[in-house]
């Protein structure tokens, strides 16, 4: 008896899960079949796959994830204190109609399973078009497996008064399961919105595999502030993918906050397709124990006069490991590009590890590009300075590490969200010990 590969098992499981044959999603069938066929051909990444070199999907292949979640009626508390928002909740990959606000919204929200006419047509024309490249086998799996998706559209010149909060919550269950939710977002000409992706799970021992894909289409002059709060506990294996397409003068701003885990991989790819587009990417990752986190960003400058700015910082304690791979690709037409990318890492332990790889590929001659990557420890002089004023070393460590982290978090325009993530920063810095060996 030959053992099936993880690809084969995944594809078979995708085809046999109930939503695959659902009448309401039948119109997506050709796309789903096509995605699974592509996945069969492409396969999942191995250590030889360059962009997955430092992240093994081994924990995923070993678990028994390939089934949908059992029905659940309990969920996590996802409230962000002080923040009024339009809430949409995915529980275990399935849209929770009870806890979601779907009616009476000032913007368009349609579950894929309820899309009709023009909406179906829009989804068919756009879904998967940004993630169709060779790099994203997990996005292909998501399309093939897709339990439910949401189409979110901000109309022309519409400015939303409140953020849209999309919660991806996961319940504890007796068996492992997978959640494969999907977002398709369109911001039309000069529309403006704040979108919060909030990934949560109830604490538990069962391992859960969540594989999310968000595609964002932004028309001319559109503005989107996009939070990605990846807050699941360690038992959730998380692969997440965000793909963004920008038209002229569109402004996309991303704020990611991630706790590491057994497997946590985030991909964020932005195409600056027309003149004057602007992307600003901020991210923080925090790892402890033997956790792992992998961030990959790609900025494709395809047109002239576009700007991008990126600041990604990480703090690792204990034996945690982080990977950063940031790539800026300047195409021949992208003259007068301004692009800056920085990845900075702080190691609080001698056993923590970071692999960072910023890449620039430039095919235009009149551009300004800068990139930098650093891996360092708490500055001894600063530490002594604080201690010499009566502050004990553990607290001094925390203060200095906080300062490092908040340089990024302070960029968040919504103070409620900053305050909300602060509790995880605080918890992360709890009981940091001074290691003599540093």
């Amino acid at each position: 008896m030959t053992e099936q590969t993880f690809e084969t098992r995944s594809i078979e499981a995708a085809r046999s899960q109930p939503q695959f044959q659902a009448e309401t999603l039948r119109w997506l069938q050709p796309l789903r079949e096509q995605s699974l066929e592509q996945l069969a051909e492409l396969g999942f990444p191995t250590r030889k796959t360059e962009i997955w070199r430092y992240t093994s999907i081994y924990p995923l292949t070993q678990g028994d994830f390939l089934r949908p979640a059992p029905a659940q009626d309990t969920g996590s508390d996802f409230a962000i204190p002080g923040l009024d928002s339009y809430c949409l909740v995915f529980q275990n990959g399935v849209l929770d109609v009870q806890r979601s606000q779907l009616d009476g919204l000032p913007f368009e929200v349609v579950p894929f399973s309820q899309a009709s006419g023009e909406q179906q047509e829009f989804i068919r024309q756009h879904l998967g078009t940004l993630v169709g490249s060779q790099d994203h086998p997990f996005a292909l799996l998501n399309t093939g497996w897709l339990q439910e998706g949401l189409l979110i559209r901000i109309a022309k010149e519409q400015r939303l008064d409140k953020p849209i909060q999309v919660v991806f919550d996961h319940s504890e269950a007796s068996n492992s399961y997978t959640a494969q939710p999907r977002l398709l977002v369109q911001v039309e000409h000069h529309g403006e919105a704040v979108l919060i992706e909030q990934h949560l799970a109830q604490p538990g021992n069962t391992e859960i595999f969540t594989n999310t894909v968000t595609e964002v289409f932004m028309a001319e002059g559109a503005k989107l502030t996009h939070y990605q709060l990846n807050l699941e506990p360690e038992n959730v294996l998380h692969v997440g993918n965000v793909q963004v397409s920008l038209a002229a003068h569109a402004q996309y701003e991303s704020h990611q906050f991630s706790l590491a885990g057994k497997l946590k991989r985030r991909d964020l790819e932005v195409d600056l397709n027309q003149s004057g587009a602007n992307a600003r990417l901020f991210a923080i990752y925090l790892g402890r124990n033997s956790q792992h986190v992998d961030y990959r960003t790609v900025l494709n400058h395809r047109a002239a006069h576009c700007t991008s700015e990126e600041l990604v910082k990480g703090v690792l304690r204990d034996e945690a490991r982080a990977v950063f791979n940031g790539r800026i690709h300047i195409y021949p037409d992208a003259q007068q590009t301004l692009a800056e990318m920085n990845n900075r890492n702080l190691l609080l332990s001698k056993n923590a590890e970071v692999n960072t790889k910023p890449e620039l590929e430039i095919y235009a001659d009149d551009v300004k590009c800068a990139h930098g990557a650093t891996v360092g420890q708490i500055d001894k002089e600063s530490l002594f300075y604080l201690r010499s004023r009566g502050i004990d070393s553990a607290e001094a460590y925390r203060i200095l590490s906080d300062a490092f982290v908040y340089e990024v978090l302070d960029q968040m325009p919504q103070p409620e969200i900053l305050a909300y993530v602060s509790r995880w920063v605080e918890e992360f810095h709890d009981r940091v010990v001074l290691e003599e060996s540093l």
């Binding site: 201690r387 004023r389 502050i391 004990d392 203060i399 300062a403 340089e407």
Partner: protein, 252 residues
Amino acid sequence: MLEIKNLRVKIEDKEILKGLNLTVRPGEVHAIMGPNGSGKSTLSNVLAGREEYEVTDGEIWFEGRNLLEMEPEERAREGIFLAFQYPVEIPGVSNLQFLRTALNNIRKHHGEGEIDAGTFLKEAREKIKVVNLDPSFLKRGVNEGFSGGEKKRNEILQMLMLEPKLALLDETDSGLDIDALQMVANGVNALRSPERSVVMVTHYQRLLNYIVPDHVHVLADGRIIKSGGRELALELEEKGYGWLLSEQPTGA
């Protein structure tokens, strides 16, 4: 208050202090002068507890406690304050947050509760006037983007807030113009009291015009080679260090 006996200190296998003795009583202001490389900064750093310095012999007693057994933060909580020669910039930590944390750590050590935020702010705004810094400096990152003189004045502000028993000024006068020097002196003089002591380490006599010392010591080659009153500093100003050094026995 402070008693240093036969202190010998090495850094990276090089002996810097070679049997230093010094006694500072409450209320006294001492100036330690000496040429470059004589060990002046080593002395203040050892007193503050910097770990790179290895004490190979001798004792330091602070208010009857063995200082060498205390961590830097414990020394600070017991009342020792070092005004750094080169204050560190800490972006992302505001001066206010820093001062308040330090003050609360010290208060906790003495069994006192945390200081009320309003009282603290009021006090900080009062004391920043003494060193003539704009109140906006309280909200800025610790020393972040401060000029050399502003950094030194910020050190003095911290000293005024933390109210140490023993203030060590490590070349606090270096690189200061006359105005800034005046501010620093104002701060130190404001702190002077019969219970508090000050040890100033300096290369120049200039500072002593503003903060008048009770005792002046000349440190050379790791030892105090001459002690005297204020007039010793004036003599040094006039003659330099050469005459004293040549009086020293040479060779071992």
